[in-house]
Symmetry: C2
Subunit: 613 residues, 2 copies
């Protein structure tokens, strides 16, 4: 039943050599790799307004425009910087690789940790924002916000476990739909007001101004809007997915991406100003604008909401493609549990997908699916990875000093500086709103990764055979074989274990821990009736501890085996057909095994005894 | 560290023969065994009012009095019935035993299931009500209601794991404190109004009447108040804990208990009428009365609240004594997992204690620590067990027909009838408020218990040795020993496994599942260089499955062993010092073991390889 359900959801298992990547040209590369940054315009403008509107009132729109300008400028700078990364890392230049390559392990791990946090947040934020687009159109769904968001994550998880990358071109279409419908809204919205002289009536009242603009307030607004720049790295990460000339195509996509974001982010900011949209927990800013432009209930209104929701889900999907790959990369380097390198039934990195889904779901539940509660955690990590990646490029130029390196170093240096300043701004202005969580998590993750590496190193070192080490050539059959069989009661499973033990040794001791004198006396009597000549040793255990006396006995002087001899312990194990059957039996044998396995010279033999049901 | 913490909390391990029960006389037996029924007056009256007040307004107090009267009558009937149970079951006559003894397995299990549900609810309800007593006095703690309740459960759990029964006399004192302080409040409250002519001002407004009394409404009020009768069974259960003459003492305690409940339940109902207390989510009825009688901030007010909270915690504690014992009893009969019969380090039934704590905590969280949301689930089970126990006694009289049996049968028959009618009333009036949950749970639990019994029966049957079955006497050393060693890479842990295998057999095959051609070629080359003459078999696994090919190989024709020969599989196992180390390794060997153990003729040998850290 379970297996069938799994198969229905995930699909048939694929062979390893069925692994192949689709390559895309610029036309498909743009929408597939850029759904994350393009979709973030759905919430970035709103976040800026949210910071400003309660203080500045109607004046907010002016400063929103300035903040947007700064963000667009920052984006252009990043595009130029990343073009250089693309040139230098034809196999994909994520921040982890660039930083590790050029700056060393700790900066690399820091970038890896911040990217990990960001991918998880991408899923949580994008699905929450997608839900907000839906609940804006259908307010009756508002109480089910969290469930809807979790359902989205579940769907993405199943889809990615199936390996939806196979048919990824389909995922380019929603991005174009979104861009086109938003462009239509921008054009209609501007024409309606500026040409036909329509006077917009705000859906919600603009709060009265309570103060004046301050630098801190403006920086907070700017920091809030910086979430629009998340996901730009996806393009430089995705170079191997491009058709040849891959690097050239990637650079084209990067440029186009910047242009698209510029147009729709700018256009939406302008519309928000024209139509005086006011951030509201029940309805997104885009939804308010769309209602005023197209009218409540208009088909185009629903088109806007639907395409917004879908592109946000696509954005979350990019994290499902990105994080498992990053984890596999870090696991291959030994910084993450090795399981992340294993491909699942459908050749996706299943463990990474599942971990991502769980973490994102936990975030959604903790932050009650509120986009603006999650966002303060978001941008810090992104900009830390930007900074590290740019700094990495900068040092690279100083090292290789190729033709025109000064010019290139200047661009990356400026990028590093500006993104670093942005990290500081975001860190300070958003610290109490949640950035502190990231500041605590980052070093914890980095230290954990170092510990993991250390552990794997130790294991490898201790397992490694010296070049000249060969198996011993002594006559093994001559060795004395010490066998102990613990007994509780005389039954068929014990007899099976005994029979096996007799095939490997004639030096057997039966060992019994007594917690009940009457039962023990009965056992000994029965055993002696068998007359096999195999000795039985009984130890009393007043503290009802079974394992302790056994271990003590093995280590004791009474027992013939020397400290260097291997002792074989033979134990029967119940095997019940149904999993819940195990709950019904004392797992004493499991405890015994766990304890004994800590000894150096032991062999644990398990004889299964199957219970039919 | 863990071990030390555990020891600090739980205390040193006790020897089995340190098990002894303290015996108590009537003076201590009363408070210790009756904290549950006595404490329920803290919420029973309030629940009656809650049902009535929104409909009847000021008229509620009159019908509250009538409902209380019915409940007190019911209690007297139960006392007479249970006196007869005490006479007949000197070793403790819980509903489970009485019903199983006289009515058969299914009624016994039904009683057991309902008692189990009730004990869990006793903990959840009593701790929630205890918290309500605290938050009434300190309203600033209201937002932490659930945490406080969970902390109480945790404390009780630790206390009971330590085995607080040892010093149980101390637990009698709070009951007396509670009774005395409530009596004082009753006397002062009555004197103040009836003699000094004080005119009480209700703290909360009494709602306007919106309707008239109906039979259904009255029955609902009665059903709500029936929670006052929970826990009466504790006395007949606890007979073995009394000093001789145990049965006589138990009967005395039962009579005294009824008298105490009569006085304080009656007294509190009368005070509620005098002072017009109105149920309110933020303040209990008792707290309202205490404020009016003693004045806000008076010492006596805090004494009332404190003793109420403490006796409620004591009531929860009785469930911690009762349920683990009941579970152990049912486990001994094979209806519950055998682990419930094991005594922990401090000789308490630790598993039962822990299960109870978890279940009660879950209930508290699900019902947000609201007493009146939990209560509708409570009384159904109690009265089902009452009915079954009384019916059991009734049939007993018909069977044994001892002197005066008609009179006794009449009392138990009346008890059975009245409690049965009460079950119906509670079931119907409280069905939609939560009683339905119990109606679903009961059959589920009973069926589960039957399944458990069936399972243990099967296991015992299949393990049992026939009287004449003896170990075989063939020459075991003559047997051919087939050994397979799976290999992934050549390393020290593999070599250790190989060395062991060579001591038990010279018929070894190395088995390798290939998922990577290059690595496999390297492995084979290295192996052949050793020149040990041990064959290596390689199977390709395009689906990256390791276990499948191994199992298939063992079962295949290629392999020399016949279907009846035992195959020994020798596998190294990593043992890492820290638990988290295990997360970092693929648990392939664990999967292999689990799969192989389902085969009938296999011996799994585990060779630990310890990684130093």
């Amino acid at each position: 039943m379970e297996i069938k359900l799994g198969r229905l959801l995930i699909g048939r298992t694929l062979k390893t050599d069925e692994l192949k990547d689709e390559k895309f040209n610029v036309f498909w590369g743009l929408p597939i790799l850029s759904s994350d940054p393009i979709s973030s315009v759905a919430y970035a403008g709103e976040e800026i307004l949210l910071v400003l509107v309660s203080v500045l009132g109607i004046m907010s729109y002016k400063y929103m425009f300035y903040a947007s300008l700064c963000i667009v400028f920052l984006m252009c700078l990043l595009v130029f910087s990343y073009r250089q990364t693309i040139d230098n890392y034809p196999n994909g230049g994520g921040a982890y690789i660039v930083a590790k390559d050029n700056l060393g392990t700790i900066p690399g791990l820091t970038a890896g940790a911040s990217l990990t946090i960001d991918y998880i947040l991408t899923v949580a934020v994008s699905t929450s924002a997608g839900t907000a687009a839906i609940t804006s159109a259908f307010p009756s769904l508002l109480p089910h916000k969290i469930s809807i968001t979790l359902a989205m994550i579940l769907l993405l998880t199943i889809g990615n476990l199936r390996g939806i990358r196979e048919s990824s071109k389909i995922f380019g279409i929603p991005t174009y739909f979104f861009v086109i419908s938003v462009l239509a809204m921008i054009v209609v919205g501007i024409v309606k007001v500026d040409i036909f002289g329509y006077m917009p009536k705000p859906l919600y009242e603009i709060p009265k101004a309570t103060g004046d603009i301050t630098i801190l307030l403006f920086l907070r607004a700017f920091a809030s809007g910086c979430t629009a720049l998340t996901g730009i790295e996806a393009v430089s990460n995705g170079i191997p997915s491009f058709k040849d000339p891959a690097q050239k195509n990637a650079k084209k996509v990067l440029g186009l991406l910047a242009f698209v974001v510029l147009v729709i982010f700018g256009g939406l900011s302008y519309l928000a100003t024209l139509y005086h949209a006011v951030p509201n927990p029940d309805q997104t800013v885009i939804s308010q604008i769309a209602i005023q432009v197209f009218g409540q209930g208009a088909v185009m209104y629903y088109v806007i909401q639907a395409t917004t929701a879908i592109i946000l889900i696509m954005a979350a999907n990019t994290a499902f493609a990105g994080l498992p790959l990053l984890l596999a990369l870090m696991a291959k380097d030994g910084f993450m549990p090795r399981q992340f390198t294993k491909r699942g039934k459908r050749l996706g990195f299943s463990n990474g997908i599942i971990v991502l889904a769980i973490m994102a779901s936990v975030l959604v539940i903790l932050f009650r699916g509120e986009t603006h509660l999650l966002l303060p955690l978001y941008a810090v990590g992104v900009f830390i990875s930007f900074t590290l990646s740019q700094t990495g490029m900068l040092t690279r130029w100083f090292k290789i000093k190729e033709k025109g390196w000064r010019h290139k170093a200047f661009i990356n240096g400026l990028g590093a500086l500006v993104t670093f300043v942005t990290v500081i701004i975001i860190g300070i202005t958003k610290f109490i709103h949640g950035a502190w969580i990231v500041c605590i998590l980052m070093p914890v993750i980095v230290i954990t990764m170092m510990k993991i590496k250390h552990h794997y190193g130790l294991v490898a070192e201790q397992l490694k055979l010296d070049i000249h080490e060969k198996p011993k050539c002594i006559d093994f059959s001559e060795q004395k074989r010490y066998v102990i069989i613990p007994i509780d009661t005389l039954n068929k499973s014990f007899l099976k274990a005994l029979n096996y033990a007799r095939t490997i040794s004639d030096n057997i001791i039966i060992f019994h821990v007594s917690v009940d004198d009457v039962a023990t006396a009965k056992l000994i009597k029965k055993w002696e009736e068998y007359g096999l000549g195999i000795p039985i040793v009984v130890k009393k255990s007043p503290y009802r501890n079974i394992v302790g006396p056994l271990v003590k006995f093995i280590e004791s002087e009474e027992y013939a085996a020397g400290p260097m001899d291997t002792v074989t312990v033979v134990m029967p194990q119940f095997v019940v057909a149904k999993w819940w059957g195990n709950i019904l039996h004392n797992q004493t044998s499991l405890f015994i095994k766990t304890m004994l396995l800590r000894r150096r010279n032991i062999a644990m033999v398990t004889i299964p005894y199957i219970i039919e049901e």
